[in-house]
């Protein structure tokens, strides 16, 4: 299946992927309204240090520890995409404890978790972080 891959040599550290992610998952069709004066809580995060930067988001592992460990059954795999059912999640953070990439994080109010679902469950339809990356440091490919 197609997954998101990053090439840190090409990452500018511009953080646009974080903003595009927050917008794509905001439910709004106006980026300014969605993000103005909002402290964003994106599902993709840039790590940066001394000139090195790269984006981290869910790897959609073939052997997903988060899904196997989820105590509620809120995390499941649908055609390779690891999805969260926020209605079932109780915010125990077991998935945060087991994800080796640190790619699952609390949602904005902390009561449930959030994670990258490759924009399959929002209006965007394809990963907004990839589409908006100005230097092709984030790609969506079959490998």
């Amino acid at each position: 299946m197609k997954r998101i891959y990053v090439n840190e040599k090409w990452c500018l550290g511009c953080h646009l992927c974080e903003y595009n992610c927050a917008f794509a998952n905001s439910g709004s069709d106006d980026m300014v309204k969605a993000l103005k004066d909002v402290r964003i809580n994106p599902r993709i995060r840039i790590e940066e240090k001394q000139g090195i930067s790269f984006a981290v988001s869910c790897r959609h592992c073939a052997e997903p520890l988060c899904v196997k460990s989820c105590i509620t059954g809120a995390l499941s795999v649908d055609s390779g995409v690891i999805e969260v059912n926020k209605d079932k999640c109780v915010g125990c953070y077991t998935c945060i404890m087991v994800c080796p990439y640190g790619a699952i994080m609390p949602g904005s109010d902390g009561s449930v978790i959030q994670k990258c679902e490759l924009c399959t469950n929002n209006a965007f339809g394809e990963p907004a972080c990839v589409t908006g990356c100005p230097n092709k440091a984030i790609v969506f490919e079959e490998r």
Partner: protein, 412 residues
């Protein structure tokens, strides 16, 4: 192929999904004492709290048994296993033949002898859905609840009911709460937080005598209560397995494929032991993720596939009244401790490996630490000073990151 699973919780589901990843046609029968579709046991406190309900507690969708071709015998008890004839005998007289058998029998609450306990009219365990329903039916805004046991079960129960009752008091023999999960300093932080919500603690204490609705503690304190919850601990349910000659220590012993010493007989979940790689000892690791993964390994093995479960570690993610705790591994080694406001971090290393950690408050990206323990990552192969500050992939080499994030395949 006829697969039979005794038990119907996380290990059973792991086994079913494991079998079906290899064998789409064999018959699978699940035998469960409880009359319920598979549900998540740890959610019973969230049920009382009101954060979930019986429908959302289901660990798998309503169509799960049908989708996986499973015959679910719910509300019946496996009385005996006839290993020679390869069949399980139920309390209703039915005999269920098997080619491969999984014990996923879980654990039972342990109730230590306490003087006068028989006199207590309203007493509860807190493990199963029926326990939660029974407790829910009895509590009211005037209830005074006494909980014996300041472990995960007792404290999650306290959280679940606190807003619905008049008072909750927790008694434990240990001087600290959550003794099996936290160190002393961490448990003080969590205890203070829980006390601030209104829960009272009597620690390093125990009930000397019950007189109906009063408990006399060892130090002479008298506590009046309306409802008693006994949450002292659990014991692996191993009777059926032991009776046919499975090797049992505290739990049923298995190899890394979850096979017992008897051919065609497997065990997974809280009834069984695993090798805890942080201390290199067989232990019962009674937690849901381990149960699922043990069950999955058993299922794949039973169906003829190849799978090992050899990275077991103790770990817990739990929250109390909004304060999150994540712990993993064991705490014997060199400790690095940071206290910062309400946040607490302890990382324990030994022999160039991370052995364990405790995070209270800020638990972001904790899984990066867990993976260091699970994968036995040599600490001199990463920037340990950097990762001690906070969990981050920056602490790995660029080559390792290219594998983790860039899709670079590891060359054999």
């Amino acid at each position: 192929m006829k697969y039979v699973i005794i038990g119907n919780s996380a290990a059973a589901v792991g086994c079913i999904e494991g079998i079906r990843s290899v064998d789409k046609t064999g018959t699978i029968t699940v035998i469960s004492k409880e009359p319920y579709h598979v549900y998540s046991r740890p959610l019973i406190s969230y049920l009382l709290y009101g954060k979930t309900d019986e429908q959302r507690m289901k660990y798998r969708p309503d169509s799960f048994y049908e989708d996986n071709g499973v015959k679910a015998l719910l509300g019946v008890t496996a009385e005996k296993v006839d290993y020679e004839q390869k069949k399980v005998i139920l309390n209703n007289g039915a005999q269920i033949p098997f080619d491969k058998l999984l014990f996923a029998t879980g654990s039972e609450p342990f109730v230590p002898p306490m003087a006068g306990l028989d006199e207590v009219e309203k007493k509860f365990s807190f493990m199963k859905l029926d326990d939660a329903k029974a407790l829910q039916a009895e509590i009211n805004p005037e209830s005074r609840v006494l909980i014996i046991g300041a472990g995960l079960i007792g404290l999650k129960c306290a959280e679940g009911i606190l807003q619905k009752v008049k008072e909750v008091t927790v008694v434990d023999l240990a001087p600290c709460i959550l003794p099996s999960v936290l160190d002393e300093e961490g448990s003080e932080i969590v205890q203070k937080h829980i006390e601030e919500q209104g829960v009272k603690f009597c620690l390093a204490n125990s009930v000397a005598q019950f007189h109906q609705n009063a408990a006399i503690l060892k130090d002479g304190t008298e506590l009046a209560f309306d409802l008693l919850v006994v949450a002292v601990g659990v014991r692996p349910e191993t009777k059926l397995a032991a009776a046919i000659g499975c090797k049992v220590n505290k739990g049923i012993l298995t190899d890394a494929h979850r096979a017992t010493n008897l051919a065609d007989v497997y065990a997974a979940g809280d009834c069984s032991e695993s090798l805890d790689i942080t201390v290199n000892q067989q232990r019962v690791l009674a937690l849901l993720p381990n149960a699922y993964m043990q069950g999955e390994t058993a299922g794949i093995t039973m169906a003829g596939g190849e799978k090992r479960y050899d990275k077991a570690i103790p770990m817990n993610a739990v929250g109390f009244f909004g304060l999150h705790i994540v712990t993993a591994g064991s705490y014997d080694g060199e400790a690095y401790v940071v206290k910062n406001g309400g946040n607490y971090k302890k990382m324990v290393s030994k022999d160039n490996l991370l052995k364990g950690y405790i995070l209270i408050g800020d638990v972001a990206r904790a899984g990066i630490y867990t993976s260091l323990i699970r994968e036995k990552t040599p600490l001199d192969s990463i920037d340990y000073e950097l990762i001690k500050e906070k969990p981050q992939l920056m602490a790995f080499t660029a080559t390792e990151r290219a594998v983790k994030l860039g899709g670079t395949k590891i060359e054999d």
